[in-house]
């Protein structure tokens, strides 16, 4: 933080300090609603509000019983397992497809690049409820239309299946991967792929040995966003999934409606902690890999 220069006017001094106050207020606005959950999750009572005991810092007012409930209740455990089964696979799909799309769209000779990019990114812009409805109708339809009024009827539909939810979540995650990978590709020196080709490396070797390691930071950040999208998502899974694919957010949602148990707060706290740890780890890894190749983090 730079100190004020000696020639600063009164106006500049006032702005200097009010700027910091405004920044602080914005942080408070963003973080306070999340932070307030953390102490509440240790509530000894089954309430969503601070009890008098908690406010007077009486140890009696706090307990970890909601955490115990989360780890022992079979509903919650099933939801956790479902989330952990769906999110990584959806992430893997998003990352593979999104990275390839970003590389393809960064080639200047591809026609209609902007239009294709806009379509691929649309799941991020279109209201989720619309995507979800569309996916529901699309995935539940076993008929493939052909010209002249012919149709093929598939013996299965994707709604209510594990694969259906994974595909839906992958579609939601792809835009994040495309955006982050495209951003890293902007700084990618195309002569490196030429150099690799010149030294005898085929396109596949060049991709895995040269291009991939260099755009990895973008791929990893995109993957992280895709993972969190799938892990947090409740609307699409409600439409496309069935009871067998009940994820953590879904369980939280029904929990709020049906039983109003502060276990939700404990789960929320765990998810917040996980997200923070994940972000830190990925950011550290990303910086390390950038330092290794001599790119200063921007």
């Amino acid at each position: 933080m730079s100190a004020l220069p000696p020639y600063a006017t009164t106006g500049q001094r006032i702005w200097h300090y009010s700027f910091r106050v405004i920044c602080g207020l914005i942080f408070f606005f963003l973080i306070a609603p999340i932070l307030v959950i953390i102490p509440l999750s240790f509530n000894a009572e089954d309430f969503f509000t601070f009890t008098p005991e908690m406010l007077s810092f009486d140890p009696e007012g706090y307990s970890t019983k909601h955490y115990e409930d989360f780890f022992t209740n079979s509903d919650w455990q099933l939801a956790l397992r479902n989330s952990l089964k769906i999110a990584p696979v959806a992430t893997l799909l998003s990352v593979s497809l999104g990275t390839l799309a970003a590389i393809g769209l960064s080639q200047s000779h591809v026609p209609f690049r902007r239009a294709i990019m806009a379509i691929l990114i649309s799941p991020m812009i279109v209201p989720l409820i619309i995507s979800a409805t569309g996916m529901y109708f699309f995935y539940s339809n076993p008929y493939i239309p052909l010209p002249f009024g012919w149709t093929i009827e598939l013996p299965f539909t994707l709604t209510g299946t594990y694969i259906g939810v994974v595909l839906a979540h992958a579609a939601l995650g792809i835009p994040f991967v495309i955006i982050t990978v495209t951003a890293t590709l902007v700084g990618f020196d195309q002569s490196l792929t030429r150099a690799a080709a010149n030294m005898g490396a085929g396109p596949v070797t060049t991709f895995f040995r040269v291009q991939m390691p260099l755009i990895l930071p973008g791929v990893v950040s995109g993957g992280l966003f895709a993972f969190i999208t799938s892990f947090d998502e409740v609307v699409v899974v409600l439409f496309v999934g069935s009871a067998g694919q009940k994820t953590l957010p879904w369980q939280m949602f029904t929990g709020l409606r049906e039983q109003i148990s502060p276990t939700i707060l404990a789960v929320a706290t765990i998810l917040i902690t996980l997200s923070v740890i994940l972000l830190f780890v990925v950011e550290i890894l990303r910086r390390r890999s950038e330092r290794l190749r001599g790119i200063t983090p921007s």
Partner: protein
């Protein structure tokens, strides 16, 4: 000799157009024997880099054949051509160490580990970078990176190496050292080299032959001395080195000398190069260091011109004097800084002349 006979690299009637309308390269014919160091020299947009990229396989010729060792390589992808290349911006892999960068082309060729290490070490020693194997490209200076790029292009022992303005980003002194090192290495290893540059000094000092490009064509292909002393057209005369140009009309052609009447009315002697008939308009070209102002050192019957000294510039090793001659203010002569050399003063009136063979009557 036709283009293909015994040539190691040959371009046959090659044309290139990016948009289907304008030709960037127009009917290029070129053949190089094995072991030659050939430089493609020209202003930007002259088609020289496009030619190099076609040879490397990153651009495809719109028309014509490119042959390597007698075989057309038009349909061979870049990674199967086995041509080494040094890029303008070095193109070192930033995520690999120096040794890994050099090892890359060998790994791709599935060469065993011990063999690989020996070759990498030898290539690094060749460019005096043996102690830098563990560094990353970002930890090296521009000159060091260029050396590594050179070693990487040579490590898999290609017979043909392409260099695309490799010294463009370096300072003058380093550039001169590396020019010398690159030519030495190329000759020692006996590799055929195609070097692209827009720096004419580089082209003259390094090459066996220079191809001067302009407007998608080779204007002249000749060894450096011939290129400088016997330019075949006005573009080459203007582009290579410093040059004085006077315009006029051919008055008389006698075998290998001709008399040109300048637009100012003065008469001079010249060698007819690409003028055919009396009455043709011509640009005569004369190098600044071939102009004499000492009457005793000229033929008795040589024509001379009156000149007024406008400016005298002391440049250390030489003196550069600007004169007003035959209606132009941009006539320059260069004299060596010798103890008995006369230093001209602005305002002085002198008489200048030259050997007819040093003055070339070119296209107008």
């Amino acid at each position: 000799m036709t283009a293909t006979d015994g040539a190691f690299v040959a371009f046959e009637r090659v044309q290139k157009s990016y948009d289907g309308e304008n030709l960037v390269v127009k009917d290029l014919n070129l053949s190089m024997p094995k072991g030659e160091f050939l430089t493609m020299l020209g202003p930007s947009g002259s088609g020289k880099t496009t030619c190099l990229m076609m040879l490397a396989g990153f651009e495809t010729a719109t028309h014509g054949d490119i042959l390597l060792d007698g075989v057309s390589i038009n349909n061979i992808p870049p990674h199967k051509r086995g041509i080494g290349m040094v890029f303008q911006n070095y193109a070192l892999f930033p995520h690999m160490s120096v040794a890994e960068n050099l090892s890359f082309p060998l790994e791709v060729r599935k060469i065993g580990k011990s063999d690989r290490e020996a070759k990498v070490k030898r290539a690094l020693d060749m460019v005096q970078m043996g102690s830098f194997a563990g560094r990353r490209p970002a930890q090296l200076s521009g000159g060091q990176q260029q050396r590594i790029a050179l070693a990487r292009a040579l490590v898999f022992e290609p017979e043909l190496v392409l260099m695309d303005e490799p010294l463009g980003a370096l300072d003058k002194q380093l550039r001169e050292t590396l020019q010398f090192e690159i030519t030495n290495l190329a000759h020692e290893l006996g590799i055929t080299t195609v070097y692209v540059t827009h720096d004419q000094t580089e082209a003259l000092t390094m090459s066996d032959r220079v191809a001067v490009f302009d407007d998608g064509r080779i204007q002249q292909l000749a060894p450096p001395d011939e290129l400088y002393e016997k330019p075949e057209n006005s573009f080459v005369a203007q582009f290579i080195g410093e040059n004085n140009t006077l315009e006029g009309v051919v008055e008389e052609i006698k075998g290998n000398t001709c008399i040109v009447k300048l637009d100012s009315g003065d008469i001079i002697d010249a060698v007819p190069v690409n003028v055919d008939n009396v009455g043709d308009r011509t640009k005569v070209s004369i190098r600044p260091e071939r102009v004499e102002f000492d009457r005793n050192r000229l033929h008795d019957d040589a024509h001379t011109l009156k000149a007024e000294v406008l400016e005298f510039i002391y440049m250390g090793d030489i003196f550069r004097t600007r004169l007003r001659v035959a209606g132009t203010d941009e006539f320059v002569i260069k004299t060596r800084n010798a103890p008995d050399q006369k230093r001209l003063k602005p305002g002085e009136m002198i008489e200048i002349g030259w050997m007819a063979e040093d003055c070339r009557a070119l296209d107008a």
